[in-house]
């Protein structure tokens, strides 16, 4: 087992455990914090996949903004009754079953896929993926349209969030 694989397995274990905790823990803030741990795990995976930019973006976007938003939301809607009661609803067993089944199904299907266990090809030297990504995002024949659409989406979401949660002054 190469060190990288070791690192991968360790980080994978941490991430999955954190994910389980996110789902199972009773206290919502703890769930948010475990989510942050999971996100860090995912960031590490990005680094392992040689996508450094993604790791940082993950940290900035997810942890910096989204996680904090979650914690804010949790605090704003904090009601003691909710924290203590059982956090899983009636259908949770069924949900668990579905989750496990779908995991088994996914893995089974993926294993059918020939390229399932393809090895990592060496990164093509030369072009730095970041530069390549930057140009791709803004060059008209590549991904400028989704990029612009994403920007419009973000603006819309911002406005939407504000209007929805704006408390009407009496």
């Amino acid at each position: 087992m190469t060190p990288v694989q070791l690192i991968f397995l360790a980080v994978a274990a941490v991430t999955l455990a954190a994910a389980l905790m996110v789902v199972l823990t009773r206290n919502l803030i703890h769930a948010a914090l475990w989510l942050i741990v999971t996100l860090f795990g995912v960031a590490v995976f990005y680094v392992l996949l040689n996508a450094g930019f993604f790791a940082v973006v993950q940290v900035v976007v997810y942890i910096g903004a989204i996680a904090i938003l979650f914690i804010f939301a949790a605090m704003l809607t904090r009601r003691v009754m909710q924290d203590t009661g059982p956090q899983l609803n009636a259908g949770s067993w069924l949900a668990g079953l579905v989750a496990v089944l779908s995991f088994g199904g996914l893995v089974a299907v993926l294993s059918q896929w020939p390229g399932f266990s393809s090895q990592a090809a060496a990164l093509p030297e030369g072009a730095d993926p970041l530069v390549q990504l930057g140009t791709a995002l803004v060059s008209p024949d590549a991904y400028v349209l989704p990029f612009e659409l994403a920007s419009v989406l973000l603006v819309a979401a911002m406005i939407g969030a504000i209007t929805v949660s704006l408390e009407k002054k009496p």
């Binding site: 942050i36 605090m75 970041l130």
Partner: protein, 410 residues
Amino acid sequence: MDHPITIIARWLETLMLGWGLAPGAVTTILTLLGAAVVGAFGLGLVIFTIWLERKLYARIQDRLGPNRVGPWGILQTFPDMIKIFTKEFITPDGADKVVYNLAPILSVSAVLLTWAVIPFAPAIIGTDVNVGVLYLVAVGSLGALSIIMAGWSSNNKYAMLGAFRAVAQMVSYEVPMVLALLIPVLLAQTMKMNGLVEAQQVWFIFYVPIAALIFFITSLAETGRAPFDLLEAESELVAGFQTEYSGLKFGMFYVGEFLHAFTISALTATLFLGGWQGLGAERFPILGTIFFFIKTFAVYFVVIWIRISLPRLRIDQLLNFSWKFLTPLALVLLLATAIVEKLWLDLYPSLNLVVGAVPWVHAGVHFVLNLLILWGMLNLLKPHKVKTRRTVAEPRPVAVAPEPPVSEIS
């Protein structure tokens, strides 16, 4: 002539190889050792900067400052540390143990992480990540996280409110900071910190002084010092999110804060004052480090100067300043610079300038642009000047939770 650090590193490498370690193991050890060195340097520096700040603080206020312990009180920080170490750890009842203890660690580690990417000398840098600048932003947001965890876990309403305010402040200042950061990246066409420094034949401050100013102000707000030190203002919510902390945990927060102040001055130096750029820096890396520290301490002096002289801002003024002034200014500046940069890249070959003069002319063009924007900004603000002073903005709560019925509060 190599930088002493590289000399030591190379000496250690040959030593370990000598011991017969596997080359892979050697590199990991070396990287770990390097990280340890950078961490220790950061913490060690804090001790000195605390003293420096208290001394300067006193001198500006026309008083002596600490002069009892060691010559000119230089060792004053050590008795403080001993005091703090001996203080008793009081954890509030009902506090969220894990989160409560994790918060201070996270705040200090967040600041230390930034030092990984700061280039001390042409070759001396933690890890030259190609997304260096973005890494800075990411680490910055971790700080906000620690504050929230502290505020929430201490099970104290004031602590939580303080945490809310702090986070609101940091999040809203993060936006202009990132925009300001983009401008040097735009000019240097790379996010590598080293790349940035190398691109600064002419310091970026001469290219885009406004961007430098915006970055300096927003990073001040990030640290929560000086005019923006609402976090633990004495006159406000007791000690903000630190109220429930005592002893070493409080110390950690204190150290984190001071180190953060020093860090932002280092960043400002590297991004806008050319980092280790200087005469002969190329050839004598040690000179680079000296230049870097001179610039950093200069900026640090300005930081302390501002902290002592400027009064505190109210929370709404603070937020308005960020959202209604800094962000639009940064956006305009970014847009203008991008356009001018594009034009410049297309046109400057046709100007057939002397090779040496190209950066200077480039800087001049951008400088003129910045002056223009400054003039435009002043004009825009002129009508508002009087009005802003007269109207008193009524407090706008950021996000207020509805009062839960009395009976249910435990």
